[in-house]
Amino acid sequence: MEDIMILVNDYLLQNAKTPLICLAVVCVVILVLTVIFVGRELKKRGNNDD
């Protein structure tokens, strides 16, 4: 695998774990909210189409 793929940012992964974890948590929360909102909008759209 190493022959075809290189880790660009190994140093980053080793040294910046805390900010990366915080960022990941924020992103996941926003993603979950987005999925909820999209679901709600699609439901609304379905009702309107009916």
């Binding site: 960022l23 992103c27 987005t34 999209v38 909008e41 379905g46």
Partner: protein, 358 residues
């Protein structure tokens, strides 16, 4: 000339300046190497992902002037980044990113609402960003003072207000101007269309920044690369309006494959590939708006989430061999063509129904 196309050009300028401000700040960030590597990644996450939330808020509360809010936040983001008076390493950057998000959503909402279901307006708005990214990088490498860039940000205010006039007019005409977007296939469930479209955006994000371009070494080559990307996005919208969205989508992705495959060392070939693949940008946006007609801001936010998901892996790994790259490009392109063919409705059905019952 299309109706209300002026709003697209107004937001072309606003988007151009927004990216100048952001990439000027990014280019000037100094510190230890961890921070240097981390900042662009944090920027990508905070500038792309929250756009869906801000878009949803903008859809629900249209009285909030998200464009002016974004301009003010961007202004203070630039100022605080250089004065370094706020606590926390990423506070100023976060303000800058939220300002960036607000301006993107404002641009998307305005250009989508005024366009009467056409793609050119939003494509012109989106195209401005690529020109801004490279200009911002060039300014960061020069001796231009941050106060000048902050002043440039403030020049966006009259442009935002002028674009608001177009938007207000469109909103007066119809409660939901985006109902005119009708580009998606009716045979596939809307939720599946959303998922598949976001997949195409993810692939576009990867193709734009992850494919190998070893020719891209000098500043001028980098400028040409970003300019080509911007032209591709604009061309995608204009061509879709002229020859149809389905034809544009399939032709651009299929034609891009050989150019992306063999463009690693040859600038011209690579640029044609990047330009062709960038043409899918306004197409994916139009499909998402077709499905989420009542929430154009949220639809635009979905495309930026996809863009983040497509570019995020590039920060951590890259394929190194031609075979691996070629396999990835071919497989992803074939999947994209199949997805686009299935989610796009027939071109003839472009000018959809108009109802005001939202």
């Amino acid at each position: 000339m299309k109706k209300n196309i002026g709003a697209g050009w107004l937001y072309f300028y606003i988007h151009f300046l927004t990216e100048i401000a952001c990439f000027y700040v990014l280019g000037n960030v100094t510190g230890n190497s961890v921070v240097l590597w981390l900042v662009p990644f944090v920027y990508d996450a905070l500038a792309f992902v929250p756009q869906s939330l801000i878009g949803y808020i903008s859809d629900r509360f249209p009285k909030i002037n998200i464009g002016i809010t974004g301009t003010v936040l961007l202004f203070f983001g630039v100022i605080f980044s250089f004065l370094d008076i706020l606590p926390g390493r990423f506070t100023a950057l976060t303000i800058l990113c939220i300002g960036n998000c607000c301006l993107h959503i404002s641009g998307a909402e305005t250009t989508l609402r005024v366009s009467d279901g056409h793609l050119s307006h939003s494509a012109i708005f989106v195209g401005g960003g690529s020109f801004g990214v490279i200009t911002g990088r060039l300014l960061a490498a020069s001796e231009v003072p941050f106060l000048l860039v902050s002043a440039l940000v403030l020049t966006m205010i009259p442009f935002v207000l002028l674009a608001d006039l177009y938007r207000n007019k469109a909103d007066e005409k119809s409660a939901c101007p985006c109902v005119l977007f009708d580009y998606h296939s009716k045979k596939i469930p809307p939720v599946l269309i959303v998922i598949l479209t976001v997949f195409v955006v993810i692939v576009r994000g990867y193709m734009g920044y992850g494919i190998p371009t070893t020719w891209n070494k000098s500043v001028i080559q980098n400028v040409i690369f970003y300019v080509t990307m911007g032209i591709g996005k604009m061309l995608g919208g204009v061509l879709s309006d002229l020859i149809g969205i389905r034809k544009t989508a399939v032709l651009s992705v299929a034609a891009a494959v050989p150019f992306l495959l063999f463009g690693d060392n040859v600038m011209l070939i690579s640029l044609v590939g990047v330009m062709l693949f960038s043409m899918t940008m306004p197409i994916t946006l139009a499909v998402l708006v077709s499905v989420l007609k009542y929430s154009p801001g949220l639809a635009f936010g979905l495309t930026t989430i996809g863009l983040f998901l497509g570019t995020a892996p590039i920060f951590f790994f890259k394929f190194t061999t031609f075979t691996a790259n070629a396999t990835v490009i071919i497989v992803l392109s074939v999947l994209c063509v199949a997805v686009l063919l299935s989610i796009l409705g027939k071109d003839a059905a472009k000018n959809g129904r108009h109802n005001d019952t939202c």
